[in-house]
Symmetry: C2
Subunit: 354 residues, 2 copies
Amino acid sequence: MSRRIGIKDVAREAGVSAATVSLVLNDRATTRIPEATQDRVRRVASDIGYAPNTLARGLRTRRTHTIGFVSDRIATTPYAVRMIEAAQEAAREHAHLLFLVSTGGDPEVERSAIETLKSHQVDGFVYACMWHREVEVPAGLPAGSVLLDARPARGAYPAVVPDDRGGAVAAVQALVDAGHTRIAYLDVEEDPLPLASGLRLEGYLEVLARAGITPDAALHVRGASDAAGGMAAADRVLALPPEQRPTALFCFNDRLAMGAYAAARHHGLAIPTDLSVVGYDDQQLIAAELDPPLTTVALPHHEMGRWAVEVLLGVRDRPGPDETEDGVVLMPCPLIRRDSVGPPPTREPGRRRV
Amino acid sequence: MSRRIGIKDVAREAGVSAATVSLVLNDRATTRIPEATQDRVRRVASDIGYAPNTLARGLRTRRTHTIGFVSDRIATTPYAVRMIEAAQEAAREHAHLLFLVSTGGDPEVERSAIETLKSHQVDGFVYACMWHREVEVPAGLPAGSVLLDARPARGAYPAVVPDDRGGAVAAVQALVDAGHTRIAYLDVEEDPLPLASGLRLEGYLEVLARAGITPDAALHVRGASDAAGGMAAADRVLALPPEQRPTALFCFNDRLAMGAYAAARHHGLAIPTDLSVVGYDDQQLIAAELDPPLTTVALPHHEMGRWAVEVLLGVRDRPGPDETEDGVVLMPCPLIRRDSVGPPPTREPGRRRV
DNA sequence: CCGGACTGCTAAACCGATTAAGCACCTGCC
DNA sequence: GGCAGGTGCTTAATCGGTTTAGCAGTCCGG
């Protein structure tokens, strides 16, 4: 193959200097170069199929139009990937390219990935987690990097996380609004507890308090973060004596909710007639497929991913202090209403199904 | 911030020329430069924190150590993302970085993404689909680009797709081995039909033929690609008269299988005692969470992703013609044995459950 | 007719590396 | 003493652009 077509070729063909071509194609100092010349240059450029070499340009301008997106994992939880998709989309809208690196959470890999990206002269970094976490920002991550689904243990970085507390408030409020007063929280059991666990608990308690409902410790149960754990946990609260038994379940996530459905079935309870259930995460594969479809709270992965690169590129104003908590912005988690919430049963909590 | 540390700084500090530094740090022409000097250069480089500028190097050497990964989507099906993860992992192992672009399948976006990536001088392209498809390779995609989960409609490109037919063979064979002779295929209903649908049907029929089982057209049913569709389709075959009713279901995917579980429940059939079920895709969220856990066929996303970049980088030999079909390599789909397959019921297909 | 301002460009340095060509010095041999 | 050959580097060109400074030429006012 012959040499790539460069700015010089355009210059020669158009009968001007390379400098002029550069000025024209970058709309620089445009006043000084007459339209006629500009048109000619542009015509020639497109005729001979000129394409700029971003490398060369970046070398000179020190802006490469690339972003390093470093993430602990990418494929753990299915929908967190939306963050990446949204980040890439936002990057594309602003003519940037995303370098994707997943480190598996290994600090050494992380460090070396950051160095590599720096040597590629990325314009900035997004440091993402696939779970809402507090992170020790890796040494070497430049100031101004933005944190995604992570809050910095120390240091000031723009950061965005889901508003787990607000999401829980919306979920539990929906239950209260439907008339429930005995609402259980099927929490997750993990070591260490995810940040979201405590935040959602706060939201849960906040709504109860506002509604004048005294929290019942027996209604806060924990289970492993899967359907089996959800089933076991739900089973415990559903086995309580009738007057103590909850009429609604707020589940830490959709998998627990899936287990709760199974437990409800075993107890002969129909959803939402006898028991209302709200999940969290809005995992389509579960939430939409369950029978009945699960009312749940969605994680704003898309919005967060977009936010991160827009802030990084400076095309979105960083929020004022009122929108943030300790400097990290809380992205709202919308309640997705489907069919698993209804009013509490009026009398006996339902008859057995066959 | 002061200027970046460059090769010249190392040169000055070590008392040699920039050329020497370059030669030493790249282990070039090493015979001509004495160990003492080399050590000194390397020491200085690390002392003053020299990091090479990959852009400058790439400009000169015409190798940027970057790969363009362009994909129709990234977040549609959760586990397909593993392809990206594996591709990135393989790239990292060979000191390459991945530019991730998702185009949403829009040809115009695709075209422009490819141009952008070219202007960034990527060393090569992976063109990926999130579903096994035949694709019209976009104009502008250079020869030598590798196709991932896609087979080219025309033109010769290295390409890898899952061996859907082989996966179906494994699945149905497991059923036959368990003793089943009446095996239904719960196929997907979509327009157009995915390639996988036909291939898995071929595998299904192949096993039946080998086992001397005459296929029963009534046992090949289609449903929408979700739990509801699976339920409806399963319902149809389970409602057949006892002597025609299948004792095992091979499902196009795990979501259909999930629906089949529900249908089985409605018919009072226990899995695997009364009915055996095999899925496809191994979507953890479904397959592992179902009760009982679903035996299914896994898509080799990880292996395919890795294959693509290894072939692109020339570190893996392209397969001989025996491993391929029309020049595209078929990556095996392993059967994941869980608990949804058992021998067919001996007499009556089970009593009603309470 | 001269000087200043404006117009329309170009020359050349620069970004940070790689690399081909070659220079200066030393040694050894005839 | 002269020359070949080896050693240990350096010089300078190059990759493909951007950008600053400034050069010619023209116009215009005085």
